[in-house]
Amino acid sequence: MATMSGIARPVSVEGVLDVLDEDPATQVLAGGTDFMVEVNYGHRKPQSIVALSRVAGMRTWQVVEDHLVIGAGVTYSQVMKEQLADLLPGLAQAARTVGSPQIRNAGTIGGNLGTASPAGDSLPILLALDALVNIRSKHSSRSLRVDEYVIGPKKHALQPGEIIVSVRIPLSDTSQEFLKVGTRNAMVISVAGLALVVDWKSGRVGCGLGSVGPTPIRASEAEAWLAGVIDWENRRIPDRDGYGQEFGRLVARAASPIDDHRSSAAYRSYALSVCGKRAYERIRRQQRQVLPGIVNGE
């Protein structure tokens, strides 16, 4: 229970942390797109709120050496804008599938993590990108991988007094894809989502899944299989019958979906396998098109 009441709107991360240090029950308001729905429907009873809206430092992104650091207050709309979208096309694609333009203007990357929904659209790609969640309290700071950070459906590893300040993503030479299946052509909660990242520099494959388990899921077996079949030296993904399908099959094996009002477990697994296959083919085709010296077969 909060001991204070009212709203604090600090302008610095330190200011936010001071408020939380004094009263860890203070509720943290980011873009409001989840928070306010809960308030409006009586599921959240705010007493004391600390808002992040005026913390300018959290609303920007920057390249720090070989990493991108994206402030927790960066909105989906910002992620979709040119420079950042060029660096992280998969994240931009995921951001574009979030809600509506109105939601994308308000909702933030940190907020998506804060809600920690298995259907959070940015989480599969953050997982696939090996993003680190930078967490601070007044007295400490730490970083967690997304799969360490999300520990259950809408449950995360933040301790009282802690907030997410940013996410840190390795900058590399990557191919990225994001696909989301929903039963409407816009403004829909994901039935299944898949993000695929192939890191040509480090020889690593990342594959994150959404809405097919209690948390966003990493498809490790599929990642390992794909990393094994890629011709890293020549930067080629093999164009062989059944490879895309096999990748899709392995991706679906990683999932543990449920039946609910949005879809069935069976369809979710199935859709995931199709998305896996399609992501494989898309990245394979992209790679053939952009590599110099390789005859374009399209």
Binding site: S5, L29, F35, V39, Y41, P101, A106, N185
Partner: protein
């Protein structure tokens, strides 16, 4: 089971805050509101600005679209107490941005009175009255022009000329509003204010959107009456009005 003993009207839920808002160029002070109130509630129920509509209160319909610091957002998802210091534009402010400041409030207030009597029956109150007794004081500095980049409206498409009041009303509207009126994009009208704000926002950033860009830009604004056909037509008409090619 009647609980009305000696309770006062002003009882609020626990935890209240003071909020200062700047809306459509005017400043409003709300000394005491419940901390959980969203901007939409404050606009509609405290400030006499019910143009933004309350269709879902979960950001899924766009009926309450407003601009906060130039960003199109759902007012139902903005905590009012977190909007202090922001520049807020609602559908009520959209038309005002085009009005000649010299003829803005006085003339319209005159109409308010006349009309109020026509429909009045004495039970209602006008917005002005509500603001006057309002939960807040208002800055009487008068309206300022907000989106001065908006060109003046073009009126070529009003085909009836003998109606002073209709044209007069149209002339004080944003071109997007004019376009919605004239293309049949309005039926029940509940989604209209949100759509008008969203389309104005779209055209201010992208004066000549493709059909697909239009669809994506307003995909967060649900309409249940029109099937969207006339709304697409309205966007095209607004585009022409703004470009001066209508």
């Amino acid at each position: 089971m009647d609980a009305s003993a000696n309770k006062v009207n002003t009882v609020l839920p626990e935890s209240t805050v003071r909020v200062d808002l700047r809306i459509n160029g005017r400043n409003y002070v709300l000394p005491d509101i419940w901390i959980g109130e969203n901007l939409l509630y404050v606009l509609r129920e405290r400030l006499g600005l019910p143009g933004s509509k309350n269709a879902c209160e979960q950001g899924e319909c766009g009926s309450c679209s407003v601009l906060v610091d130039g960003m199109l957002v759902c007012a139902c998802l903005v905590l009012a107490a977190d909007a202090s210091g922001c520049e807020i534009t609602t559908v009520e402010g959209l038309g005002r941005t085009l009005a000649d400041p010299a003829d803005s409030s006085g003339q319209e207030e005159g109409q308010t009175q006349g009309q109020g009597q026509t429909q009045g029956q004495g039970q209602g109150q006008t917005q002005e009255e509500r603001q006057g007794q309002g939960q807040g004081e208002q800055d009487l500095a008068g309206p300022t022009i907000i989106a001065s980049s908006m060109p003046m409206p073009q009126l070529q498409d009003i085909s009836v000329t003998d109606g002073m009041s209709f044209e007069g009303a149209l002339s004080r509207m944003h071109p997007v509003q004019q376009a919605f009126v004239n293309t049949g994009a309005i039926q029940c009208g509940f989604c209209t204010p949100g759509l008008v704000v969203a389309v104005a926002d779209l055209l201010s950033h992208n004066p000549h959107p493709s059909a697909l860009q239009v669809r994506e830009a307003i995909s967060g604004n649900l309409c249940r009456c029109t099937g969207y056909g006339r709304i697409f037509a309205a966007v095209r008409r607004a585009e022409e009005l703004l470009a001066g090619t209508a």
